[in-house]
Each structure stands twice: as structure tokens, then as C-alpha cells.
Amino acid sequence: MTKSLLSTMPAPAAICLAAFLGAALQAPSQVALSRGHTDFGIGYEDGNWHLHIGRHQDLPPAEYAPDEVVLLVGPAAGTLIPPGQAFGFLGEPGAPAYILPQVENPALLFLGLDTEELPAGMFTNNQVRLTLKSIAGPGHFALYEVSALGFPAVLLNSRDGVSPADGVVLATGEHRHVNWAFSAPGIYELVFDASGTLAATGQFTTSEPATCTLKVLGEAPKLHLSSGPTGLLLKWPSVLGVNYIVQHREDMTRGDWINHGDPLHGTGSELSITPANAQQSGFFRLLLE
């Protein structure tokens, strides 16, 4: 049997992430966030710190504990470090980087820092500090901002190790968008705490550490199609920690995409699948999460 007109469609993989894979591929207690205006929020109420992930675009706005979500860095985040020294803190010019940008890209998470819940006068100098305590992942992480005139300011960078100096002072009552940059695809666990001196008592207080999981999906993989011993064989390179789901439909532009089995977990090596009950013709795509 000969299959005809099989197609790889890497681009829609990114587009469809948010649409219907968000809850489908995560453990029930975790939500994958792939797009939209989202903030790492710092609050303090009744003597307790409140670090959270806020979703401004949801109606009503949704809020999660940091460990309740996986923040996805989609394929559209992939870029190359530009020539010159200005962005050398990210790596060598020409090397890949994966960046959730300070300016919203509708295909990506628009991830900000939010202290708007902290009223003026609560903390000394109306400031708190967000400190990176540790990082686990396949590459480096940098948090930085680019000014109006194009100059980068590095707020955090794990490339030179993580030390108590890896903190960023944030004004209270503020909300800003920054660049979240990673040097390689895979899963990153960033552990932060927040601290500040309470103006009323002079007491210095530090939050419990909060772990944020960011999953850098990497470039959209090319789906390779061939005829295997038991039928059609689909193959693609995988990234450790990234989940893949194969979908198909019979018409290029119409109909629902049908899942082929459960999500496959990336290993860092090539993954393959032989779709059962493949039809005479069809279109396949990969969704990443």
C-alpha cells in the first residue's frame, strides 16, 4: 500500500499549543501556559508572601501557585544571538537562544514581573528583591531588559553561576516586561524567593522559595515520513522533557485533527511512531508541549 501526500506541518504546532493542549498533556494539577499576558507576581498579605503566576488576559484573571503551571517557551522563541558584544552575556554571536521577549509576540507567552499588589509604604524604599536561588536545566538562563535606545541591562544571569548577587530589585506597585532567555531547549526549574524590609517594623522578611518550571520547546522539529516494515513511519528529533503528540486529518484545510495515541515524551533522541489505521491519504502534524 502506498501512502500519498503526507505533509509535515511544523508551524501549526506552535499555533495550536494554547488552543487545546494546555490542559490535555499536563498532570491534572499542572497547567501549561503557552501564550498571553502572564506575570510572575509578588504579593504580601497578612504577614505572608504570596508568589504566584497571574494571567491578565483571562476573564476573570486566573492565578496559580508557581508549581501549578508549566511556562512554555514555544518554537517562535528560537533566535540567534546577534553579532557584536552587546548581547555577549547570552553566549557567542550566532549561537541559538530561546527568548520570551519583552515586547509581546502573540505566538509566545508574554511573561512579566508584577509587584502591583504591594502598596506604597509597605516595604522600605518601596522596594523588594527577587532572588534567583538555583537553576536546574540543560542550559543557561538570563533575565534582561533592553532600553528605549537599545541597550541591554542584565538583571539575572546563571552563566557565571548562581550566587546571592543574582537578585533584581523591583519597585513595589510596578509591572514590567523583561526578556527571559535560555540557551538550550529542555526543562528548567528556576527557584526564586522574594525579600524586603517591612517599613512598619523594620523586619527583614524572605518568602519561601518558589519553583517555576519553564519548558523550552526548541525549534519546531521536521517530521520525517517514510514507509516502514509495518506501514507508515513518522520520525522526528526530540528534546528531553518536551512532550509530543501526533495528529492527523484527512483534509489539509478542513476537519478536526485527531490524536494518534498518547503523548510521547522527548528523550533527546529521535522518536518515531507508526500510526495505526492510516488511510490512503492524510496530513500529519506534531504538537509540542
Partner: protein, 347 residues
Amino acid sequence: MIKILGLLAAAHLTCVGICRLHAQCHLFTEEHVDVLAAVWNDDTQTLSLVASDDTHGGILYASNQCVVVASEGAQFTLPGGTPFGNEGDPIWILPQSPYPGLPYVGISAERLTPGTFNDPISIRLTRIEGPGHFILWQSSSFGIFDIKMDSRDGIDANDQVTPAVGGHEHHNWGFTTNGVYRLYFQAAAMRAGQSTNTLSPETPFTFHVLPLRPFEHWVATNWPCVCATNIIAAGADPDADGLINIMEYAFGNNPHQTLLSNLPNVTFVSVNGTNYGALRYVRSPDATDLAFEVRGSDSPGGAGEPLTNIASVISNGTTETVTLRDSTPQAAATKRFFQLRVQLNPP
């Protein structure tokens, strides 16, 4: 008979459109304010642009109820290689990221419910009044400049932003020189299921880019939010006392009071035993952007000649009294006419 004429004013601040006078005026100096917030009124079926004070719970202000102040801290020096001017030129920027001491100015379609309007909406720059140019841009993660509006090459349909319905954006608001600017914007949004755009009124928002020039400062002090030309223009006379604003400003008067105070008057001075007619007038020493000229002539409409002989300058504290004597002795003329001219120097 000696007659005095007070003449000549030049207007640089004009405003037409939907400006209205409001008693209250709010200055945004360091708030997170979405100056261009698109709002739909379901009752009146109208779209409008207002300012939303997000630092204080999203309080809304009409455009003629608020002013955005860019303090001296907004002045930066351009490095080489930008599209905003020559290296070393000054530029005033309200940045896309929060910056200490400056307003954090955003653009918002958050108050439009997703699904009720097609995505995205557009907000166009339609006009600019001010001493310089206005540029709106974003800096990317790698410092690439994405210019959305730029008055330097004229203003057309390309000078726009297109926020997503329910979305919120921040940009760099750049001004090429200091002064008072009025930027006019118009929003266009297409309601779901319709085929034509709903337009907001053309709406002026006022920016004070510091330092203001002296006359700008005088106007901004007396009418901080007003942009109606029949009130704030140099040639306007809002208190209807016969003295136009530029003269009230020149004499150090209160333009809200119907008082003909500090008017020039005629006197005589004696120099080495010779008497001369003279014009005595009061001027505000703060009005450094004004040029005063006194002319003397033999007829009311005569061009005459400028008088340059300063008889005295006496400080009164907030004002000073200047006396300029005629060049023609009193005995040599049967009548003389003095004219005080005041001109606002261009920025």
C-alpha cells in the same frame, strides 16, 4: 496728547476638536497610566479614548482632564546609529519599561471585551501640535527599533498601533525637544458581525515635556488641562478685560481676573535740564521669551522709531517697572504717540 498702544502677539499653542474645560486637572508624573485606553459605551454606542490610571485602580480621565508630565529626567542623549536623530542630540523619552520618576505610559484595549470587537483595533496618530516631533517605538529583545508612529515624515495611516482586543502594550514615547505637545489620536474598531469601523472622536492628549518654555509654563500654570484656543492662545482674552494673554503674561497679571492693572502709562523725565516724554511699563522678569519694544511717533498710526534710552528699571519683587524716554525733547514736539509692542519669540 500721548497715546499708548499695546500690540502684537504670536500664537504657538492651538487646539481644535473636542477640547472642553474642566475644573479638575490631573497630572501624571510617575504613574502607570494607559493614556490611550479604548473604551466602549454600550448605552451611547460610542468608542472613545481616555486615560486609565492603572496605579490607582484604573481611574479614568478624559483627555482634557489630565496631562502627562515628562520631567527633566526623561531627557536622554542619543547614541550613534539610531533612527531618532544624530549622535549627541537630546531626546525626551517616556520609556516602555518603568523608569524612576517618569510616567509608565501604555496603550490599552483591555476594556474591550474579546469577542465583541474584531481583532485588532487600531489607534492612529492624526495630528500633533508642539515645538518638536513625536516618535513612538518599541525596542526588541536585541535592541531592534520598531517605529509605530513618527511625525518627522508627516502623519498618515501608517502612524498607528494595533493592540489586540483585551490587550495592553507599552512603547517608548519620544519627543525631539522640550515643550507642550498635544497629540491627537483616533481609535477605529470593528464590532463583531459588522463590516464598518466604529471611530472614536479625534482626541487630543497633552504632554508637558520639561522644562517648559516660560510662556508655556505660564499657560500650563493657569490652565493646565485646557487646550481651547479661545482660552489659552497668546492672542485670546478669556477674562474679557481687553488685555490678551500675551499682555497679561508680559505685565505679570492674573489672566483670571478682570483687572486692567500694570498698564503702561506716560510720564516725563528730565535729562540735563531737558524734559522728555517717556513710557513707563511693568514687565514680568520671568517672561524671558518675550521681546519688548517701545516706539515713538508723531501720529497714532505712524511707524515712528524705537526708543532705546532707558531712564530707569525698578524692581517690584515679582515684576519690574521700566521707563523708556523719548528721543525727541518735549519742547520739540506738539504731540507724541508711544506704542508698546510685545512679541513672543518662537521656540
